[in-house]
């Protein structure tokens, strides 16, 4: 049986979430009435065990194990939960804060290693683009035309009267310099080291 003990600072986790840099100033987490409207429209919840309502309940009940819960990694950040919430709450945002907590603890870092190629793309091209390691699954989801788009992107853009999406060398260097000075590069290296 769970016991809510006296002198237990039972709002620690929710306060930490609200203090987070990422938290919107009007984040309505305290106003949650556990109606489940977020879960009812959540694509992650329909396919996995992820439950945004229950995640928020655990935050409100100071259940820190939620940070280690595998299911928080099943959010797509589509923000449908936010757009439908009648209490002004935002489960996506809370999810991202919890993920960051997990990354800071060191455990969540494994979850984002496969995304590090996005970081490389920023460093090398100055823009974010879907890394080629994801092409197979994209073809599975979108269909064979996805590869066609990828391979002939420059021609397709030319047909549409659009210029090249490759940034000039100068701009790429500038972006790289910003990413380096802001600590992004270091962070990316740190994440990539976890791969090994």
């Amino acid at each position: 049986m769970k016991t809510i003990k006296l002198q237990n600072n039972s709002l620690k986790l929710v306060k930490d979430v609200l203090k987070d840099l990422k938290a919107s100033p009007d984040l309505g987490i305290y106003k949650c009435v556990q109606c489940g409207m977020c879960t009812s429209v959540c694509p992650g919840a329909s396919q996995t065990e992820y439950d945004p309502r229950d995640m928020i309940r655990r935050v409100l009940e100071d259940d820190e194990t939620v940070i280690d819960d595998e299911n928080i990694w099943n959010c797509f950040s589509c923000y449908t939960c936010n757009s439908i919430c009648p209490s002004g709450n935002n489960a996506s945002e809370i999810n991202q804060i919890l993920r960051q907590m997990s990354i800071d603890k060191g455990e969540g870092i494994q979850k984002i290693v496969s995304f590090s190629a996005y970081g490389d793309s920023f460093m090398e091209l100055g823009v974010g683009s879907i890394p080629n390691t994801f092409f197979d699954v994209m073809v599975k989801d979108v269909g064979p035309e996805y590869m066609n788009l990828k391979l002939n992107i420059e021609d397709i853009r030319a047909d549409l009267g659009l210029g090249s999406y490759i940034l000039p060398e100068e701009a790429i260097n500038e972006v790289e310099s910003i990413l380096d000075n802001s600590g992004f590069k270091n962070r990316l290296e740190r994440i990539k080291r976890c791969k090994k």
Binding site: C35, G36, M37, T39, S40, P86
Partner: protein, 626 residues
């Protein structure tokens, strides 16, 4: 009485029985309001549903028969002005195009009328003609022409044996002087266009609770049978969605709980279960709110096999005539899809257009949600900001019929108090010198008691509304306002008197206290609490009355400090803080230390606090060098 629903009818009857002449005006061609449409009612103590028409009809009949009640339908309030406690109203009557005295309600006219329109009395689920009577028992029992849709073809005139139809009939403006006004303008329901995720309007079998009430009403489109609008078949399952537009902070939503929807849903669920036991009924709820005796009716619904799922649906989808209601069963922590063939939405109660319009015309305040604001939710629950104007029913906020009737009777008794008992007034009332007043309206704008108004080019103060607070004196650049019983001379003389015979090295502090502060100071005495003998108390209706000249006079006459104490929950308090800053600036300009003037909030039970403030300030004054 503005509004002829159950609230307006109940309040009118109470007043009429007390011998007070009452005029009931109703915008629609018939009285009865929302109550006649709902068919069946729930009650606190009973486990059966009551017949709305059976309860309402005797009241309507009594109102019609009563010699003290005049009923004007098709009528709205056009304008209103106040004159010393009375209201001069202009009432506008739309032409009915049917002479009431001649119409025998035979219906031949409607038979020949070629114009067909959706019948709003059945929530648009049936068709009526352009000449119509909303329902069989309508009062007054006459036909009406709907001017928006009538083509003036004259066919109805040809068949009318009573010569009752006059297509040239014109509207009327009726002037009226009344002693009191009651706003009973009711509510409307949430506009479903704001929540497309529930697919309302795209499918006939997604209906609101009011539409379900009409479907199940014996005088409704299906004569009381529960049949789906799309195919006239009995539904296998009915899913009800609670809190549609209520408890909703999204744009266009209503932040409040609409209070009646849980009971309405349970009532309809019970009625369905009684007549169609094979139809499954599921209510998707957030919190089941059935306070007091209503809990018994909730338990009764459970025992009837009504199913309850705790979760708020996010979406309703349709495929091949089957709806899917998507929600999370929050108790079992499971995303859930419920298949159903009829969905009922429990839509929020919102202020009606009439409520907002009438409040504007009468100049009464509204709440954040645009319901009529009562003066004080506890001690003045039916009074509005304007003396003599009262409110009842859903015009004041969401409530059920039981509460509406209680409030209607409360409003009637307050009108009766005013009319039969007269009014007792404090003598402190603003008076205007018309020779100095330039009609700049600044005093009108500042007065939250809405006591000042311009009548026939003369600024007038309603003595019943004015509290003599003195805020208007600050605004008047022409020195045209005085407070009777608290003129500048009187205040100056009180100050002079309090500082008379002051000895060298003696400290004197003037404490201006409002009536709450004064009682608090009395309690200091009764409880024998020590206060410095420097304190001299002057009672003033409001700190707004104290102006720079009074303060400067006090210091000139030898005061060492000034305390001002006011109860913070009066209507004009918001201005007080700004005033105090103004007074302090004025002191600084005259080389007087602004720390010699302080302001405290006062409360009757907090007299020990006031005493310690006196002591604290006295000590501080002694240490001040200038």
């Amino acid at each position: 009485m503005i509004g002829g629903g159950i609230s307006g009818i109940s309040a009118s009857l109470s007043l009429a029985r007390q011998g007070i002449k009452t005029c009931l005006i109703e915008e629609q061609p018939t009285i009865g309001g929302a109550m006649v449409k709902v068919g069946k009612l729930f009650s606190p103590e009973k486990l059966v549903e009551e017949c709305a028409m059976c309860l309402l009809n005797p009241l309507v009949n009594e109102a019609v028969e009563h010699q003290n009640i005049g009923i004007l339908t098709n009528t709205t309030l056009k304008s209103a002005e106040r004159r010393s406690g009375n209201f001069n109203l202009l009432i506008e009557s739309k032409p009915r195009m049917v002479i009431e005295d001649r119409c025998i309600s035979c219906g031949s006219c409607a038979e020949v009328c070629p114009v067909e329109v959706k019948d709003s009395w059945n929530e648009g689920m049936t068709i009526r003609k352009a000449i119509y009577k909303p329902f069989a028992q309508a009062v007054p029992d006459v036909y009406t022409i709907d001017l928006e849709n009538c083509k003036k073809c004259g066919k109805c005139q040809d068949v009318c044996r009573m010569n009752a139809i006059d297509l040239e009939m014109e509207g009327e403006i009726i002037p009226m002087t009344v002693g009191s006004v009651v706003i009973a303008t009711g509510h409307k329901t949430f506009d479903m266009a704001k929540r497309p995720e529930y697919s309302y309007g795209r499918h006939e079998d997604i209906v609101t609770q009011m539409e379900l009430a009409r479907i199940m009403g014996v005088n409704g489109p299906t004569k009381g049978k529960l049949l789906k609008p799309s195919n006239n078949k009995v539904p296998e399952r009915v899913v009800m969605v609670q809190c549609v537009g209520s408890r909703d902070e999204k744009p266009g939503g209503r932040k409040y709980c609409s209070k009646v929807c849980c009971m309405v849903a349970i009532k309809h669920a019970n009625v369905i279960k009684q007549h169609y036991p094979d139809t499954d009924v599921i209510i998707c709820y957030n919190d089941m709110r059935t306070p007091g005796m209503y809990e018994k009716y909730f338990k009764y619904a459970q025992s009837n096999g009504v199913r309850l799922i705790r979760g708020r649906p996010g979406e309703i989808a349709e495929k091949n005539g089957i709806f899917t209601v998507r929600l999370e069963d929050t108790l079992s922590k499971e995303p859930l899809e419920i298949e159903t063939d009829l969905v009922v939405l429990s839509t929020a109660m919102e202020p009606s257009k009439g409520t907002i319009d009438v409040s504007g015309i009468l100049d009464v305040g509204l709440t954040e949600e645009l319901f009529v604001k009562e003066k004080h939710s506890k001690i003045k629950p039916v009074a509005t900001e304007v003396e003599g104007i009262f409110v009842c029913g859903t015009a004041q906020g969401p409530k059920d019929i039981t509460d509406s009737i209680v409030q209607a009777n409360a409003a009637a008794s307050k009108v009766s108090e005013l009319i039969n008992g007269g009014v007792e007034l404090e003598p402190f009332v603003a008076s205007i010198d018309p020779s100095k007043c330039k009609l700049c309206r600044k005093c009108i704008d500042v007065c939250k008691y809405k006591a000042a108004y311009i009548q026939d080019e003369v600024l007038t103060v309603d003595p019943i509304s004015c509290t003599g607070c003195g805020a208007c004196l600050w605004e008047c650049n022409n020195d045209a306002i005085e407070i009777m019983g608290q003129t500048d001379e009187q205040i100056m003389a009180m100050i002079t008197g309090m500082l008379k015979d002051k000895k060298p090295h003696e400290n004197r502090i003037i404490a201006f206290l409002d009536s709450v502060g004064y009682v608090s100071a009395d309690n200091i005495g009764i409880n024998k609490i020590d206060v410095p003998n420097s304190i001299r108390i002057i009672k003033i209706p409001s700190m707004n009355r104290i102006m720079p000249k009074h303060v400067l006079h006090a210091f000139k006459m030898g005061a060492d400090g000034i305390i001002m104490g006011e109860y913070p929950y009066n209507l004009m308090y918001s201005r007080t803080k700004e005033k105090i800053r103004g007074l302090k600036r004025e002191l600084l300009k005259n080389n007087i230390n602004p720390d010699r003037l302080v302001f405290y909030k006062v409360y009757i039970p907090y007299f020990r606090g006031l005493a310690s403030k006196f002591n604290e300030f006295d000590g501080k004054i002694k240490c001040l060098e200038n």
